[in-house]
């Protein structure tokens, strides 16, 4: 039965490749298009051990046994990469009319959408790796500068700002002898907005080390009288470049979700606080739409985490494309998103917007492979300011409660 012409026809129509094999892994029948996935030197023919051609089947022995005893219904290995193609394999057992136990492996190639997703993930991983390496490097540099800061960079200047003394760290940093520094104006080396030190006790300097590294210093300025009653300034500098750089990176990472690139929970809370101020001062109304994706856990379990991630990216993208310029979409946890919908002076259009959000999953299912479409739904919870509650956290909690109520109903 299985060797009739029906199976190849079905396979062609549904664009899923297949291999039929026995419990001894002997090939019985297969899609001719499978040659795409075999090496040039090998030939897939009936009667050979499938593991000689498709190496991934080696190690499946125990799982085949479980399928045979119906301990499991099917067995899936996602995202196998071969000959520049990604594909999933799913194996099931069935019994022929002659009571033979046969296994069928469905092989589904990934769609174009997958390759875009893969590039994004590779880009994220590359950036994360660079950040991690930088972090280790920063630590090394921090240790180096800590050593320097143990013996702080300092120099003295007179009333005119001319250097009168420089300590060894200062000379080492600038790569100059003390004699070469004395008599020079400090602003030749330590750049600041105003080149005077009068009436100030601290400043931020930019300076370039002898190795050419731009460095930011926080400088404490102490005005003291010397033995001859002449005032001078002692300047003590601490390197804060790393703090500046790390602060910048942390600020971005702390406000965004790295998978989808959307603002995260702390950022949306900030946005809601801004919207509250706008409502209170300009009477501009807004609502929150709390969204939960109905099937993410199932998708992760059935297709693997890649598919779950693809679904999250997909949803993020359709929500982001859907909202208007002044609205904000954020991902606040695993499968939960919040949209801040701004309304201007009235919120009459809210119901129609919510209705359109509800329809987005139906109009935009995830085309996981050329042949496999993942359908999902949203559970929504809505609340508006100032009708419902009056602070950002309480608003999110309320919208979440409404979403949970909706989810229970569904």
């Amino acid at each position: 039965m299985y060797t009739t012409e029906v199976l190849p026809l079905l396979s062609k129509k549904s664009r899923i490749l297949y291999i039929l094999f026995t419990k001894e892994f002997i090939v019985v029948n297969f899609s001719k298009e499978l040659t795409l996935l075999t090496d040039k030197n090998t030939e897939l023919v009936a009667g050979i051990d499938i593991r000689d051609i498709f190496w991934e089947f080696l190690g499946f022995e125990e799982n085949i046994l479980k399928l045979q005893t119906q301990e499991t219904g099917s067995f899936k290995i996602p995202m196998i990469f071969k000959n520049s193609i990604y594909y999933d394999i799913e194996i099931e057992a069935f019994e022929t009319q002659t009571k033979d136990e046969i296994f069928i492996a469905y092989i589904s190639k990934k769609s174009e959408f997958s390759s875009e997703y893969l590039k994004t993930i590779q880009e994220i991983n590359k950036k994360t790796l660079i950040l991690q390496i930088d972090e280790v490097q920063h630590k090394k540099e921090e240790n180096y500068y800590d050593l320097i800061n143990k013996q702080l960079l300092s120099f003295h200047v007179d009333n005119l700002g001319l250097i009168t003394e420089a300590n060894a760290v200062c000379c080492f940093f600038l790569g100059k002898e003390e004699e070469a520094l004395i008599g020079q104006h400090f602003s030749n080396f330590f750049h600041t907005r105003e080149s005077t030190l009068k009436n100030t006790t601290s400043k931020i300097f930019n300076a370039t080390s002898q190795q050419g590294h731009d460095t930011i210093f926080h400088a404490d300025i102490l005005a003291v009288k010397d033995a001859t009653d002449v005032y001078k300034n002692i300047i003590i500098c601490q390197d804060v470049s790393h703090l500046k750089q790390i602060t910048k990176e942390l600020e971005y990472a702390a406000a965004h979700d790295s998978l989808t690139g959307l603002p995260n929970q702390s950022k949306i809370l900030e946005k809601i606080d801004e919207a509250i101020v706008n409502t209170d001062t300009k009477n501009e109304l807004f609502s929150l739409c709390y969204i939960n994706i109905s099937k993410l856990a199932l998708v992760n379990g059935d297709y693997g985490y890649h598919a779950g991630d693809m679904l999250l990216k997909h949803v993020a993208s359709i929500l982001d494309n859907f909202v208007r310029e002044n609205d904000t979409v954020s991902r606040i946890s695993g499968d939960e998103f919040v949209i801040l919908l701004t309304h201007g002076k009235d919120n009459h259009s809210l119901d129609s917007i919510i209705e359109r959000i509800n329809l987005l999953p139906m109009k935009n299912p995830l085309h996981y492979t050329e042949d496999d479409t993942i359908h999902y739904k949203f559970n929504l919870g809505i609340c508006s300011y100032p009708q419902d509650v009056n602070d950002s956290k309480a608003l999110i909690d309320l919208a979440q409660k409404a979403m949970k109520k909706e989810r229970k109903k569904n």
Partner: protein, 167 residues
Amino acid sequence: MFAYKVVMIGDFGVGKTSLVRRFVDNSFSEDYISSIGVSISKKLIQDPKGNSTMMLWDTEGKTEFNQIFKQYLIGAKGYIIVADLTRPQTLDSIKEHLKLCLSVVKDAPVCIALNKSDLQHQNSYLEEEIKALSPNIIAVYKTSAQSGDIVNEIFGQINSTIINKAN
């Protein structure tokens, strides 16, 4: 010929693919393109005791967002857990990877590759300390896919352990 499956696992960017490439076709690239999913390579190993074929599953590394997919680990005769000597957090992950491997095949031999030994690193991680994590760990090696140092040794070690066990 005896053929068996060995799975490479570890955090992303530790050099799993580079170790496989160095072992299978003696090549190396400085470019980092992270692996997605799994790719399988075949290596014929000649040994006086008998030739064998190692099927190497080079899996996608664990990241903050993606855990290692357990299905890839099924049916393995041995595991190579890879960490990056220059990134301490990847060394801390060894314990977690080990737990995952042994939850799938509890008696599988495991080799630990502390990779990128050609780069400057701190030696604070004691090999003995790692070895003490489990009796399944048969060896801990400092490897370099870049220079090729100790690469053949680690694959040779896992191969001979698996062959001895099978006999």
